[in-house]
């Protein structure tokens, strides 16, 4: 058996002894290198310890936890309501999707229904968030693979979206806009029309991105056939979202378990065929187009539902308007109760949303008191990180950057 095939077999996970001839110039020495936790291509503070033979990866072990902030513990000491601001900072490129997932879980546990208009605003917000998250994927992944100008193109678009969110919710990032029982504020008509303007112009920008990447020889060479995931492997490794759909499994929570009225929207679920990095890229590009379509439909509906309630009027869970707490005793008491001592019924609930990374869900358990018993974040990013060793094994070191980029995770969510 030649040294090369011996090494590749070892890399494929068949243990046995890997004894190499030290005089062999090609395979004489194994090397262990450490990527991260501070590395531009690991998209945050991920650390990989990589065992190499030359450029070939034999083992690749991710080490996470460098951004573990103890969110789940924090929820237990903060209470249900105040934890909402922490959900923004889970996957910080898509705060509104996180808000929605958490709000949906709380609503499932409390068994309350959200007003129609709030659902429409949520859908609009979630799709804008998805576009923004995919823009980050596109910008950072292509900068890792050498297409530096993409970063500037995608960030130009993100800045436009940031300005809209700023006008809409009051902050560029970490908006905490979606609350239990609805949304924090109604959508202003001016803002809605500028969102519409931005969304209508956006498909042309996607074409521009595609012109730069889709047919690009370097992009193809770096992505095609790299990091191939079979459908069965995706299911075994609990992968969801674009990574699963890139392998050809048509599974989208917006279709399978519709929430916030997604069943009434008209959209396609793109799926890939090969399951490599390139297919995952194509799926995300197409998802952005579909998001634009959904968001435009939601905007049309918002015009129809102008003036309706955007927040549930249930004083057990939702704060009364601030103006009324100043002259109404009852409202003041409600405000006090909700802020200090919001109780959810005894039991547990789980709701997942289709986030830009996969199925993001919150499993919450309450013992009936105001102190949460348990709040578990089902982070799709953690599953994506888990898939790195399988995909990297036997590949070249430079492929790891393509694989990390295309699996798409954000450490804030992975580590929590």
């Amino acid at each position: 058996m030649s040294a090369t095939s011996k090494v590749l077999e070892y890399a494929a996970g068949n243990p046995g002894d890997l004894t190499l001839d030290p005089d062999d110039p090609m395979h004489g020495e194994l090397m262990k290198i450490n990527v991260g936790p501070q590395h531009p291509a690991t998209h945050g503070v991920l650390r990989l310890s990589v065992e190499l033979d030359g450029e070939t990866i034999l083992r690749c072990e991710p080490e996470v936890g460098y951004l573990h902030r103890g969110k789940e513990k924090t929820c237990e000491s903060l209470g249900w309501r105040k934890f909402l601001v922490h959900t923004d900072r889970l996957d910080y490129v898509q705060p509104l999707l996180n808000n929605t997932a958490y709000a949906l879980s709380l609503e499932a546990l409390a068994q309350v229904e959200v007003p129609q208009r709030a659902q429409e605003i949520r859908v609009l917000m979630m799709e804008v968030s998805r576009i923004m998250a995919h823009l980050i994927y596109l910008g950072t992944t292509s900068i890792d693979l050498g297409a530096v100008s993409m970063f500037f193109f995608t960030f130009t678009e993100r800045e436009k979206a940031y300005d809209l969110l700023d006008a809409w919710s009051g902050h560029r990032m970490n908006n905490s806009y979606i609350r239990m029982g609805g949304v924090y504020a109604d959508v202003d008509e001016d803002v809605a029309s500028s969102i519409k303007k931005w969304l209508s112009a956006f498909p042309a920008k996607i074409d521009e991105f595609e012109k730069l990447l889709t047919g690009n020889a370097i992009w193809n060479a770096r992505n095609r056939g790299v990091g191939v995931l079979s459908p069965a492997a995706c299911l075994e490794w609990s992968l969801t979202g674009p990574n699963l759909r890139g392998s050809g499994v048509e599974w989208d929570l917006r279709r399978a378990e519709p929430y916030s009225g997604y069943e009434t929207y008209d959209f396609d679920v793109p799926v890939g065929s090969e399951g490599d990095c390139y297919d995952r890229y194509l799926v995300r590009i197409e998802e952005m187009r579909q998001s634009v379509l959904i968001a435009l439909q939601a905007l049309d509906r918002l015009e129809q539902s102008q003036g309706q309630d955007f927040l549930l009027q249930d004083r057990r869970y939702v704060l009364p308007p601030k103006s009324r707490t100043h002259d109404s005793m009852e409202e003041l008491i409600f405000q006090f109760k909700v802020v200090t001592d919001m109780q959810l019924p005894k039991g547990s609930a789980y709701r997942g949303v289709e986030s830009s990374k996969g199925e993001l869900g919150f499993f919450i358990a309450s013992d009936g008191s105001s102190d949460p018993l348990r709040c578990h974040v089902r982070a799709p990013g953690l599953m994506n990180v888990q898939a790195i060793p399988q995909l990297a094994r036997g590949r070249l070191l430079s492929d790891v950057m393509a694989i990390i980029g295309s699996l798409d995770f954000v450490m804030g969510e992975v580590d929590r």
Partner: protein
């Protein structure tokens, strides 16, 4: 901004240009800051936005972000620093060549912010000397640009010549963040108080300075 005219006087007739060594060095340093972007969490995205097209930190000469600490002189700690990451952050800081500055971007790195939890460092100033604190969660890119400008003003007041003439001095790790006092002279006002642990440790122990040395 950044014109040599700011720090020189010249005589066109005779072709002389006069300046002070300190001013010239500081002028060069402050207009060519190389940030080391320690993008840890949410603030990292705003840090990218600051480097990106709209805010364009290149206008202030600080666009050359390098992920290799050996090439950098200002470390921007953007995001939540956890105790697990603290060792890496400190190592990166140690690897940066002198002179070096630190910007704590966001409330997490300034004080621990909203994370009063078992895993989070309650302010990076407990392990690193910080020059500028930027509030916000995350701060807007404009706020970070303001921090870069404040750092430039701080650099203007430094005395690099003293370092050359008097030889290498003990590294000062006071981390004051005050603009009105020259750098490397703020040892006494290191007043971050005690860190909230059962062990009752002083922050000085993380920066490797004992009280006697002060």
């Amino acid at each position: 901004m950044g014109s040599l005219k700011e720090v020189t006087t010249r005589d066109d007739e005779s072709g002389f240009m006069a300046t002070r060594v300190n001013e010239l060095l500081n002028w060069g340093r402050k207009n060519s800051l190389w940030p080391m972007p320690l993008g840890l969490s949410c603030c990292g995205i705003e840090l990218m936005a600051m480097i990106g097209p709209k805010f364009d930190i290149a206008r202030f000469g600080a666009e050359a972000a390098r992920f290799s600490p050996r090439q950098c002189d200002v470390m921007i700690v953007a995001g939540t620093l956890t105790w697990k990451m603290a060792e890496a952050a400190r190592t990166i800081y140690d690897q940066m060549p002198d002179p070096k500055w630190v910007i704590a971007m966001g409330v997490c790195s300034s004080s621990g912010g909203m994370y009063d939890s078992y895993a989070v460092v309650q302010g990076v100033d407990s392990i690193l000397p910080v020059d500028i604190y930027v509030p916000g969660c995350p701060p807007r890119p404009d706020a970070l640009i303001d921090a870069i400008m404040k750092l430039q003003r701080k650099i203007e007041r430094e005395n690099p010549l003293r370092r050359v003439l008097e030889g290498p001095q003990e590294l000062d790790e006071s981390g004051t963040g005050r603009l009105d006092v020259p750098a490397n002279s703020m040892v006494e006002t290191h007043s971050m108080g005690t860190y909230k642990t059962d062990s009752g440790l002083r922050t000085d122990q993380y920066t490797g300075r004992s009280k006697e040395k002060n």
